[in-house]
Symmetry: C2
Subunit: 332 residues, 2 copies
């Protein structure tokens, strides 16, 4: 068994003959060139993503139509045989409760709902990262959310993507679409080329929400008493202050701009925002139904528990694992 | 704040009206179609990787020539100005030790070494995942390792990659190249299409090492005393048994084949092997010099510490961080 020690390593490097150090520097120069080739690779991957976005779109359009109820799936389109044993097992456990619930639903004889009611709102409720942002007063607004789309930047343009939140007409704001744009960078940093690991989100932009009168949940009005210094009289003034709300997602901090650097709290807020944007793009939009049913949430939990320096998913090392695919395969 | 509870979620799903369940099933069908499109996306990414492998190769060839000493870098090729403050700071701390070490080196007046001696062996020593496998008797053999190459499968062929370990002529075996082939799969599992997350390593193949007489470190000879049941006489027999060695990497278990499934220990061994193969391909071969100097090891450590459900790297949330790039950017 060998062991590496940092200071040992540095000492070893510095003690190397000059001719060898020179060759190591030459390798470092080559490594910087590799990083620039890698940046081009990721640009081409982005082009591929754009190409595939167009291939997914007809399926996502169909999804939207089924969700809103604009189109009813045919019998063939809605066939589904669960091959997931766990689901069936749980289904068994739930059976009694379910029968009651179904009977209650039938008894109520509510009119058949259109599409899949509260589809996107349910996803917000199921995903911790989002539900943490949603306030009670956001809920009735989010129930009007009808679709989320990801749009990639055009070829030749700076790398970015836009999240489009499509709303049906509602009592809260007049916009039919709210947007959040994430700007990316895919080039090695001059000062630290070796840290390059592919595109990064580096900044984002929100949009103006045209709130209807008295409906803006991102501000609240507070009353404040003011005492006149000389006369001692008291007057009450009202003041608008920021209010917690998911809709602050559309008024993000700016990462860059006036050269002033952000404080630590702001850095953290921005990093969380980037993470959410990435999550919408990579997980929620591509596999919305699985976040609606909860199937994807279980997968994400498993994903987070594993060691992931190399994104591996080691399986078969826990007895009684919930997953039924306990093989040795490595996701790369 | 909203919260989701698994059983609540299932109950909610089962209690939905039949017409809504039908639409959810239709979305699931669409989701399976998405998974198959995604599989094609990853095949195209693999094609891109093959294309870029050819672009990296001239740089890797130069690296090999500098490492072996076949070619000496020019002055321009070996210029390097460290812009990494941390490195300089540490360099300062080390200065006294280094000066001594350099003086000692000069005093010894050893002949100038050829290339970068023990380049690949040093990487094995620096990377925990590898050093754990290396036994003392493996070390002199690994000092003859001159290059590691990754070769991707040809277009139209089943997805795979080969790791080639190139050795200079040595006293241990006659092979000049040892190979390890990793077979991948990029298609959704029929029984569980939603778990698809891109190509997986599903199996691997080693190679035969033509050991010179008495040099095979992967077996050891043990002596065993046997007592004759009837006569009571004792004789000593010798027996060859497996021996711990890095070179067992070239005699992996088989994941598939005769339909028998592996036990849990074997699953784990195989999963570790896949992880190592993936690490060679994704990290060590593309950025070998950084594992030689230790720069990449620090990055990997940071990488492993972070939460990585979405591969994010949150920065700026720790005071006195070692990294000097404490911005909010998200690696995606």
């Amino acid at each position: 068994m060998l062991q590496a020690c940092d200071s040992f390593l540095l000492c070893f490097l510095f003690s190397l003959p000059k001719a060898v150090k020179r060759r190591i520097n030459a390798l470092k120069q080559l490594q910087v060139k590799c990083a620039h080739i890698e940046a081009k690779f990721y640009e081409e991957v982005h082009d591929l993503e754009r190409k595939y976005a167009a291939l997914y779109q007809p399926l996502f359009d169909k999804r939207r139509e089924f969700v809103t109820g604009d189109v009813e799936p045919t019998d063939a389109e809605s066939e589904w045989h669960s091959e997931n044993e766990e689901e069936d097992k749980l289904a068994g456990d739930m059976k009694s409760k379910v029968v009651i619930a179904e009977k209650e639903a039938e008894a109520a004889e509510e009119p058949a709902p259109r599409g899949i009611p509260e589809f996107w709102f349910t996803i917000f409720r199921n995903v911790d990262m989002l539900s943490e942002l949603v306030q009670e007063y956001d809920e009735p607004i989010l129930k009007h959310l009808q679709d989320i789309k990801v749009k990639f930047s055009d070829p030749g343009q700076p790398m970015s993507f836009v999240l489009e939140f499509h709303f049906e007409p509602n009592d809260y704001f007049t916009n039919s679409v709210l947007t959040k744009t994430y700007k990316m960078k895919s080039e090695p940093d001059k000062a630290d080329p070796f840290s390059f690991e592919g595109p990064e989100i580096v900044d984002c932009d929100g949009c103006t929400i045209d709130w209807k009168k008295g409906k803006n949940v991102t501000v609240k009005t507070i009353k404040k008493k003011q005492k006149h210094k000389g006369r001692g009289t008291v007057r009450t003034i009202t003041k608008q202050v920021p209010n917690d709300s998911f809709f602050n997602f559309f008024s993000p901090l700016k990462a860059s701009g006036d050269g002033e650097s952000l404080d630590e709290d702001s850095e953290f807020t921005l990093a969380s925002d980037f993470e959410i944007g990435h999550f919408f793009r990579e997980r929620i939009v591509p596999r919305a139904v699985l976040y609606f049913t909860g199937e994807a949430i279980e997968d994400d939990d498993n994903f987070e528990e594993g060691e992931e320096g190399e994104e591996e998913e080691l399986e078969g090392d826990e007895e009684g694992e919930e997953e039924d695919d306990a093989d040795a395969s490595l996701k790369v």
